[in-house]
């Protein structure tokens, strides 16, 4: 119960931080915001690494490895594509 209260506290506080930070993003950057936050949601990779590295049964290894691959696509692709997009936004020279 104590850990649960701890993690739920973290969760709720993080939501508030998220809303606070994201409400400052101007509409012009909404697409990069989506793809960038999308890349962050690839954090599931951390969970995937844990389950792929547990070596419990063949099934968990298989599922974990597959999850690692999918989450890595999300992370690598997400950050790269966001970078590509953002580097196009320029000021008048």
């Amino acid at each position: 119960m104590e850990t649960f209260l701890q993690v739920i506290t973290i969760f709720i506080l993080a939501i508030f931080v998220g809303v606070e930070v994201i409400s400052k993003v101007p509409p012009i950057l909404h697409t990069p915001l989506m793809s960038g936050s999308n890349a962050i949601s690839g954090i599931t990779l951390v969970g995937a690494l844990i389950s792929a590295g547990m070596q419990a049964t063949t099934l968990t290894i298989l599922l974990g490895t597959f999850a690692v691959a999918l989450a890595t696509i999300n992370v690598v692709g997400g950050f790269l594509v966001t970078h590509r997009m953002l580097s196009k936004f320029k000021r008048k020279e």
């Binding site: 509409p27 960038g36 890349a39």
Partner: protein, 461 residues
Amino acid sequence: MVGIQVAYVLASVLFILGLKGLSHPRTAVRGNLIGAIGMLIAVGATLLDRNIISFEYILIGTLVGSVIGALFALKVKMTAMPQMVALFNGFGGAASVLVAGAVLSESLVRGGDVGMQFLIATAASGLIGAVTFWGSLVAFGKLQGLITEKPVRYRGEQVVKVLVFLIALYGAFKTIQGRGNVEWYWVASGVGSVLGILLTIPIGGADMPIVIALLNAYSGMAAAATGFVLNNSILIISGALVGASGVFLTKIMCDAMNRSLPNVLFGGVGSVVETIKADDLYGGKVKATTPEEVAMILKMARRVVFVPGYGMAVARAQTPVRILTEAMEKDGIEVEFGIHPVAGRMPGHMNVLLAEENIPYDKLKEMDAINDTFAQTDVVIVIGANDVVNPLARESSGTPISGMPILNVDKARTVVVIKRSLAPGFAGIPNPLFAAENTLMLFDDAKKAMEDLVKAYREAA
């Protein structure tokens, strides 16, 4: 054990700073890099943790994923960005399903006590992750043109959706009974997959920005749920950040369409009876023009505003738009762009397309900023937009778009609308703007019309 927690805190801080960087185009590139470094730290710390005893499969998984992800990201055209974002989003959701499934079966093999939090979070990861994955795939299919962009509606649709949702919940309930049931977990995820398809397939093209934002929120929630499975702080924090971002964008998109989220998800557009007859509205009042005539008007203008819509993206007319912009600016004409929040197929879509054409971002104005300037604007060129410039929206009721905030282009001295025909937009209603006293219609494909216009402008003295 302490080391990894410190690393996770550091990564969380970097994620927040990274998102903060996105508050201005000047700092955005750096913000994204900071986020990527945060990810690197989180992943690195996890790999160093002693719980991980085997690396060969991890290596295979990350290699394959990195290559595929990088290829996608570097090859994709900017115009295909909405479907790319949808696809990546889906992969994150799928990963959550697999991780929670793997952890559940591992815990059943190992035995020992499992708490209620673990079981509920596992079921939630499976359900939300499956909805995210399949919903994103359908969105991808629609945006890529593999599935019809039209809303797919059928009799009893709402009943079917509610039933499938209840079955999914039942599956989740069976998953968490006792010490957990992995078979029921996969059933629940399977039903969640069906639900993901059912929720996305009825949604039409113009509502796509809302759906993409919503799926973004789901992917965050799925990651947070997986965090509750593993009691892992970094997953919970990142998931909450992304979830908040997705919900926030969804709300902005809904407000910009003056529609509630349930209305988008469960239908609404098209159900309003059409009260205005297009023939009565347009009959004898629509004035067609030529590129030459428009070029003459532009030559005399001091301020011109482009209002782009999805039609510009489809016709790939951005390049001639940029060429004409540069030509006009050389003649001392002030040129800006008025961008509606829901123009295009995802939040911010038009900005990305125009930025790729090297149009400086300080010319891309949001709706509230540009609306006051239309009265002092000589010419507005509406290119591939329709509902977002329909003055009927200002009327309080009677149309599907009533109350929707629009770009008040009709206040400008002259409005040039580039459009193939008088066909209605997504809302299915005629647009009085096309018949207005100060409106000229340039009937053609957006790209062809713009190229002709560039030519005519150069030839006009």
